[in-house]
């Protein structure tokens, strides 16, 4: 679709700011990375509207640094911004979610037969993990980042990533087993 020529239409922020070339580059970056970032935010929040908002906010945060040429690894910056935005919004919601999951029949909307539901159940359990563990697991296994790369995105040491991952896996495994026994 975008072969040959790149469309000349300017993005919305172009009208309101004093920037040219960086805006062009940034537009391309938004087009190229938004789907994946929204997926990341969705996995971290479990809520699509919230995910979209978090991604829009993350782009806005990164933009001002990007236009001044202070960003060298854009995709890492964006991931970091998404993670931080989500984390800021999310803290109190964790409690609510845990209670909901314990109280009622989990995700009773659909039966646990096919794989689609399996993944829903897995991610419902993921959403009850502490956000730090969930983020580490998601970046490591869904985004397929190495321990080092995950550490850079989170701004922590690789050893911290390692322990968050192993604790997250352990807790998740425990929760899955427990809910299996209930059935």
């Amino acid at each position: 679709m975008r072969e040959g020529t790149v469309t000349e239409t300017m993005p919305a922020w172009q009208d309101r700011t004093d920037v040219g070339a960086p805006a062009m580059l940034f537009t391309d970056a938004v087009k190229g990375s938004s789907h994946r970032l929204i997926r990341l935010a969705y996995l971290l929040t479990g809520d699509m509207a919230e995910a979209e908002d978090a991604v829009a906010e993350a782009y806005a945060k990164v933009w001002s640094r990007f236009r001044h040429g202070q960003v060298d690894d854009l995709s890492q910056y964006l991931q970091r911004a998404v993670v931080n935005t989500v984390r800021g919004n999310l803290r109190h919601r964790l409690v609510v979610r845990r209670q909901a999951l314990r109280a009622g029949p989990q995700l009773a909307v659909r039966p646990f037969e096919d794989r689609v539901v399996d993944r829903d159940r897995l991610w419902a359990e993921m959403l009850t993990l502490p956000i730090r563990q969930r983020t580490a697991l998601t970046l490591r296994f869904v985004e397929d980042l190495s321990e080092q790369e995950t550490a850079l995105v989170l701004g922590v040491k690789p050893g911290t990533v390692k322990s968050r991952v192993s604790r997250g896996l352990e807790q998740l495994r425990g929760q899955l087993n427990r809910s299996d026994q209930h059935e």
Binding site: V19, G20, I38, Y42, E52, G69, D72, L172
Partner: protein, 261 residues
């Protein structure tokens, strides 16, 4: 146990099918950028007001001590203009108009008695050229030089935007990627120059499978942070497919002395 790791990875990636990019994402980002900016501006404004009040207060005090009966007059600075209201989309406004310092900042600066620092260079103040081209292992390195043709000093800070265009001025393929390295503002006096390293990756063009190579008629060059471009004619073999974005790269602008010989 690797099963759970794999399950997380696979099921997480499968969630892609639930995700769609909202059509108004760019507008939403823009709205948030504007919101963040006005919040920043409000903070800056408060700071400037405090400065002005302090300066005026000092002036009144000193005046009071030195001479009796002289009135100190203070003209309120004009409010900064809203960029959105005046910026022209085509970027044809004459140099300086959309970027003049707000009355407030100018007032506080002159009240305190500091010199005026150079403004960012506008496209019309600069003349772009390519010099010092030399090939090395499939890459042609050049200096992308910005010559200050105006009569005042100005600053250049950041990455220029460089893309390839055909004879009709339509962009070909992806813009030059940003290469890390230099950074910081460079002040360019009248008649002086600053420059960036511009690299053409011939080996990429000849090997990328999705390249669709073609010949460009020239470069469209945006000086850092500018919305108006200059055209620099020249024949370049580049990838027409925007997804094959390795045809060229460009560094941030730095002093000429910093560029490799």
């Amino acid at each position: 146990m690797n099963d759970l790791e794999r399950l997380i990875g696979e099921s997480g990636r499968e969630m892609s099918d639930r995700v769609s990019v909202p059509g108004d994402l760019q507008e939403r980002i823009a709205a948030r950028i504007v919101k963040r900016r006005s919040a920043r501006r409000a903070r800056a404004l408060t700071g400037a007001v405090v400065l002005v009040v302090l300066a005026v207060g000092l002036a009144i005090l000193t005046n009071h001590n030195h001479s009796n009966g002289t009135r100190v007059t203070f003209t309120a600075p004009t409010a900064p203009t809203q960029p959105g209201a005046t910026a022209s989309p085509s970027g044809t406004s004459p140099p300086g108009t959309s970027r003049t310092t707000s009355g407030l900042t100018a007032t506080s600066a002159s009240t305190i008695g500091k010199g005026v620092s150079p403004q960012p260079c506008r496209t019309a103040m600069l003349s772009a050229s390519l010099t010092n081209s030399q090939g090395a292992a499939g890459t042609l390195y050049s200096h992308l030089v910005f010559h200050n043709v105006s009569t005042t000093s100005c600053t250049v800070n950041g990455y220029p935007g460089v893309s390839f265009v055909d004879g009709a001025g339509h962009q070909i393929g992806a813009p030059a990627q940003r290469a890390p390295g230099y950074g910081g503002a460079v002040t360019v006096g009248p008649g002086q120059s600053a420059g960036a390293v511009f690299a053409l990756h011939d080996s990429y063009v000849s090997t990328a499978s999705n390249c669709a190579s073609t010949t460009a008629a020239g470069l469209r060059i945006y000086p850092p942070n500018e919305t108006t471009a200059q055209f620099l004619p020249g024949q370049f073999t580049v990838c027409a497919n925007a997804a094959a974005n390795g045809s060229a790269s460009v560094s941030a602008v730095t002093a000429l002395a910093n560029l490799p010989a």
